[in-house]
Symmetry: C2
Subunit: 397 residues, 2 copies
């Protein structure tokens, strides 16, 4: 049993706001504030450089990697933290290509997060060996798998619609053609049960500032399956991935296993916030979380569909085919989301017409969802999105 | 006039410790503690996702980049923050190679920081087009410049000895052969006057956790000269470097100028600490800082040379050929540095035999240097480095 009232009490939640945007940026865990303060004052401040050893900073990427690994079904010792998700995508795809010499195609889908596609394009340009990115519609991925494809790069849960790929089935299909898989878990880690080892995934990457609540710009993670860990070349071969970083040898030698995927000096303040945020997960059963997320999602879908006929469900109707978000299409979606925010309901908008709501049972309950439905219904009924102040487009929403 | 007593008072300096390791990790600026707390509670906590716009997070990499640009002689609008120094080395070298098609050599020197060399090796391996890293001794760089070299990758100040390259002269020599330069300013930014524009540098990169005091794992910076800014391809082409990140277009189009060197979501907590740390520099004259650093360095060299005959100066004797550190060679240097730390003098050790002391006038004065000499003299006189507890080798010192 997970006590979701108890987990909710562990967050700073501004009064009067319904926050359905934890799939963009999770809220502040109260312990993160304390932990970062302690890391700054008691470690950086008092221990200075010696904190790299005395406070265990140097081991944080591996230690915290294992905490995340436990949430995504990774074998212990095969996840490490660092950099951003985009950088980790590059590193994983480059490593996978290196393990499939002679094949030239990185296959992805048009629902993938654009940065994953951009990083793959940048890598293909840099390689200048005929390697190219090919994208197909999400439902056409399986039939596009052939012997030219080196790497299948997919985000499990679509950032716009919440549509969820079948990781185990697509990984098995890829393997039948000799293709390696890179799974982006941005909208999976902390959102639903993930079983990387069970699915036979080759590489996985993800961010921590969404469902894992590490704070703005928190570090990314990378997983390399045990069978590849001693063969993968990291491409981004930095000193902290070296076999002996403090020997300062002139030539790169990859460190053991996942260690080689480390690159530069890790962001200790962000890692401290993440470490505190992960404490919350110690008392959460992921299956209970998933069950509750589905119930809250159904509540939102039912409520919106009966109160707001202008909004069309963009997410799959079948719960098992959705991640932990609910999206609706509305042509004035940007202005409508601005109006919702002004009324105290924070979700976000994704071009061209998606209003997206994250379902995060750690701190969201039935009362929040009921209020969200009320606010959305009023925004639509009173056409609040027509107000001039909601017509501007902000840089980020 | 810079009031160095006033700048010193802006740091948390643990009592009883002489800290000559600001060239590894600068100490905690008191304002950084307040600023990060405010960013977490008042921005992340209270504004949630809306802080990306309302608190200006999205612009921090450019805004803070300009603050650093002012310290290194960059043209406004040509520096941006993000990632780690190793990642920025990769990005700069890849971009420079792309601007010199047909040339295959990345030239560096054996005194460069190993991670710079490792990243170049990783890039060369990934390119798999015959591109290679060539290293020569620091004093042989100029004669090794020829028409096969695409990129000259150098760290201005040697991390071990403090030897300083002549950036303007080497850049001019490189340009005469059609070679682009990538300058690593890890031990320059905040350590001494740097004039990137005046030197005609093409690319520069650096870290902020040393002389700029941003805290452990603070973000790196990258500079691209205005003449290259609209031509350079970022290689690591992430969504925040896209011309229109929030259009979520399927294809990458580089953003204007330096914006394209952004990659993923920036680490806001680390940037907040950096921003507060940079406030200190508003009242510092870099020439006054340099003059004082030289005086303190001479004090240390004179004192150690007369008190510790076992230690051999590893840094250039001429002040203008040194960065802002003083290094000595001693075969038991690792144990001796452990003994110094136990006695309250923190410097650091770099294999195989370098004892390194950073000179940072923002918070170090003549009294500190005198105490450092006393401690070092006692460690050597009483052979404290022979104690068994100092013979172990820690992961990081």
């Amino acid at each position: 049993m997970t006590d979701f009232a108890a987990t909710r009490a562990m967050f700073h939640l501004p009064p009067g706001i319904v926050y359905l945007d934890g799939n963009s940026l999770g809220p502040l865990p109260l312990k993160a504030l304390e932990r970062v303060n302690q890391t700054m004052r008691g470690e950086w401040g008092d221990m200075l450089i010696t904190a790299w050893n005395r406070a265990g900073w140097i081991d944080m990427p591996r230690r915290i990697g294992d905490r995340i690994g436990a949430l995504i079904g990774a074998e212990p010792g095969h996840v490490v933290m660092g950099d951003t998700l985009s950088i980790k995508v590059y590193q994983a795809v480059a490593s996978a290509l290196d393990l499939r010499p002679g094949r030239r195609v990185i296959l992805s889908d048009t629902g993938n997060f654009p940065s994953d596609l951009y990083m793959a394009q940048g890598l293909a340009h840099t390689l200048a060996n005929g390697c190219r990115l090919q994208t197909v519609a999400p439902e056409e991925v399986e039939e596009a798998l052939d012997e030219e494809v080196a790497v299948l790069l997919l985000t499990e849960v679509d950032y716009r619609t919440g549509r969820r790929h079948d990781m185990a089935a697509l990984t098995a299909a890829a393997h039948r053609k000799g293709i390696l898989t890179v799974w982006d878990l941005a909208h999976s880690a902390g959102a639903l049960p993930v079983d990387l080892a069970g699915a036979g995934a080759d590489f996985a990457v993800g961010c921590t500032y969404k469902y894992l609540n590490s704070g703005p710009g928190g570090p990314a993670f990378i997983y390399v399956a045990p069978r590849h860990a001693e063969h993968a070349r990291p491409a981004l071969s930095g000193w902290l991935g070296h076999e002996a970083p403090f020997a300062f040898a002139p030539d790169y030698r990859p460190g053991p296993g996942i260690e080689r995927m480390r690159v530069g000096t890790p962001p200790i303040l962000q890692l401290a916030a993440l470490d505190a945020a992960l404490d919350i997960w110690d008392q959460v059963d992921m299956n209970a979380l998933r069950k509750r997320a589905i119930a809250l999602s159904e509540q939102l879908i039912d409520g919106v569909e009966s109160a707001c006929p202008e909004l069309a469900l963009a997410s799959p109707r079948a719960a098992e085919r959705r991640g932990s978000q609910v999206s609706f299409r509305f042509e004035n979606g940007h202005a409508a989301m601005q109006a919702c925010i002004a009324e105290g309901l924070i979700g976000d908008f994704r071009a061209p017409d998606i209003m997206r709501f994250g379902i995060t049972p750690l701190y969201i309950d039935e009362t929040d969802v009921a209020r969200a439905i009320d606010i959305l219904a009023r925004v639509m009924r009173e056409k609040l999105w027509q107000r001039p102040e909601h017509q501007t487009r902000a840089a980020v929403t």
